[in-house]
């Protein structure tokens, strides 16, 4: 198969998976937050509100796209375009699994394997400041302008600790390629402790991981750092004046940035697609076990239904889960999908943590946010870098 057709095929698969995840991440977020707050969340459109993302897309696409008078029209339209382009661009360098062989074709589970993948991701994320800042400025609205200014200052401030935390990982791995980074984290200490960078000797990068996560919250403008769109102060911040698909673009960009951030954390600190237990201890059978357990729960509730229609729907769900579990036992499928399962599980856990934090923490005040970045996070990141560098130099000698 030629390079072009293979790339097109891979791009199609990645785009389909990414866009579906984007749509359903929002559903998951609403559901999880609702349950944290003892509500039900979306439950009207489809079973358990599962068709809510479709309804939202139709609503946003059919709304009137209003351009406020006195707005700078070109930049006003350019900002959401830039946001969504940059957000979707970064997925192209993220590896999801090892090199695999399907029907005799060897390929990497990644769109493109850059040898400066980490720098590419940093470059793309540093450019995404413009979309928010320009959107705020071009709307010609004081709330939007304040939101844009806040986000520009915040994103520049938090980029520093983020980059410094990444650098200390790079010192351990000695490569800038994301694939190389994951490969440097394979293997186990004394048989069962994974050599992920959070556990990696000579200096486990736990602090760098925490700094990275906190900075990633700020970079994606999420609670507790969502000052650019603090609704009780700024209406909706930089996207106050945006409606219909232009608003959807910002929405999509935010969730896409969340996915990129969690993917990056997984690749840099949590060993990418490397399983947390050795293969000898049954790492490859774990995915089947998870799906089988999910099926068993669905079957149990189907046999003891809370509502009459659950008697038919839940056994069907259980059957699907059991089929997936059985499929994952086939050696060929297992070899391809088990790494993807581990990668997805880690990313999914981090995404859940993002939502969890949103349901738990209140918003910072703006001066607290800046003081935290410059007076705590950045010095700690530099200290971590110095200690890591020293230990790496001593050990490698």
């Amino acid at each position: 198969m030629s390079f072009l057709s293979l790339s097109l095929l891979k791009a199609t698969v990645v785009a389909a998976v990414l866009l579906t995840t984007l749509a359903y991440l929002q559903w998951v977020e609403r559901k999880v937050i609702a349950h944290i707050q003892l509500r039900l969340g979306p439950s009207r459109v489809g079973p358990h509100g599962l068709l809510q993302p479709v309804a939202d897309v139709i609503k946003l696409a059919t709304k009137e796209g209003f351009i406020p008078p006195h707005a700078n029209k070109f930049l006003y339209l350019f900002a959401p375009f830039l946001a969504v382009t940059l957000a979707l661009l970064s997925i192209s360098v993220i590896p999801f699994g090892p090199e695999i062989e399907i029907f005799g074709i060897r390929t990497e589970m990644q769109l493109t394997n850059l040898n400066i993948g980490v720098l590419f991701l940093l470059a793309v994320s540093s450019m995404s400041v413009y979309s928010v800042a320009l959107a705020g400025w071009a709307s010609n609205n004081k709330y939007a302008l304040l939101g844009g200014l806040r986000s520009a200052a915040q994103m520049i401030s938090y980029e520093l600790p983020l980059a410094v935390a990444v650098v200390s990982v790079l010192l351990l791995a000695n490569t800038l390629s994301l694939r190389g980074l994951v490969e440097s984290q394979s293997g186990f200490y004394i048989g069962f402790i994974p050599r992920w960078n959070v556990f990696q000797l000579p200096f486990p990068q736990v602090f760098a991981f925490l700094i990275f996560l906190v900075a990633a919250f700020a970079e994606t403008n999420r609670i507790p750092f969502d000052m650019p769109e603090a609704e009780n102060e700024l209406v909706a911040g930089f996207h106050t004046e945006y409606s219909s698909l232009k608003f959807a673009a910002f929405f999509m960009a935010e969730y896409s940035n969340m996915i990129t951030g969690t993917c990056m954390a997984t690749l840099l600190f949590l060993g990418g697609w490397n399983p947390p237990v050795p293969t000898g201890l049954g790492a490859n059978y774990f995915p089947s076990l998870v799906f089988a357990a999910g099926g068993a729960v669905a079957l149990y509730h189907g046999l003891h239904p809370a509502r009459s229609r659950d008697r038919y729907s839940l056994p069907v769900v259980a059957l699907v889960f059991f089929l997936v579990a059985a499929m994952l036992l086939i050696p060929v499928v297992q070899g391809i999908l088990a790494p993807v399962f581990w990668f997805g599980a880690k990313v999914g856990f981090l995404l859940f943590a993002f939502i969890w934090v949103r349901g738990t923490l209140p918003r910072f005040r703006y001066d607290q946010l800046m003081r935290f970045a410059w007076k705590f996070l950045f010095p700690v990141a530099v200290l971590n870098l110095l200690v890591t560098g020293l230990l790496v130099a001593v050990v490698s000698k």
Binding site: N72, L75, L114, N115, I116, L119, F120, L122, A123, S126, M127, V129, Y130, A133, L134, G136, W137, L145, G148, L149, A152, A153, M155, I156, E159, L176
Partner: protein, 166 residues
């Protein structure tokens, strides 16, 4: 393919640079400058300097220009008034510019020794390892002097800003 990409991005760089001067609004000029930086990064990439290209985007387009845009937005600088321009500048400007460019290219052609043409991707010293090695061995002194210079500039900025407060 390389030549097409070079022409496209060189064109974008030139158009953005001209736009930077022509625009009356500071934000539009700043965005044009970002365009110049971005297309320059692509040109570095075409030549094989992938590290320099990434750093160009991260540092210049992603950090320095964001600060420029931030300050312009903070001061809320409006569009400049367009002066009518003198008649001489309007009718003599472009012909004189073309003459100047022609003279420059002619002088460069006869003064500089003939060299091998640039081959796309022919430069192999652009990897992060190569750049780091050269930076910390051969160019260590200039590198350190530059960092001290930047430190002095930062301290100077703080001192100047403090004075204004009193």
């Amino acid at each position: 393919m390389d030549v097409i990409l070079f022409l496209v991005f060189a064109g974008i760089a030139v158009v953005c640079a001209v736009n930077l001067v022509v625009q009356t609004h500071p934000i539009a000029s700043a965005i044009s400058l970002v365009g110049v930086m971005g297309s320059l990064a692509v040109l570095y990439l075409l030549l094989g300097g992938e590290f320099i290209a990434a750093v160009q985007v991260i540092v210049y387009a992603g950090a320095i220009m964001v600060l420029f845009v931030f300050v312009i937005m903070l001061l809320n600088a409006g569009a400049e008034q367009k002066s009518g321009g003198s008649l001489t500048a309007r009718y003599l400007g472009i012909p004189l510019l073309i003459v100047l460019l022609g003279l420059l290219s002619f002088l460069i052609r006869i003064m500089l020794p003939p060299s091998e043409g640039v081959r796309f991707g022919g430069f192999t010293g652009g990897s992060p390892e190569a750049v780091g090695r050269v930076l910390f061995t051969r160019y260590l002194l200039p590198f350190e002097v530059t960092s001290v210079l930047i430190l002095v500039a930062i301290l100077g900025a703080i001192v100047l800003a403090r004075k204004e407060l009193d």
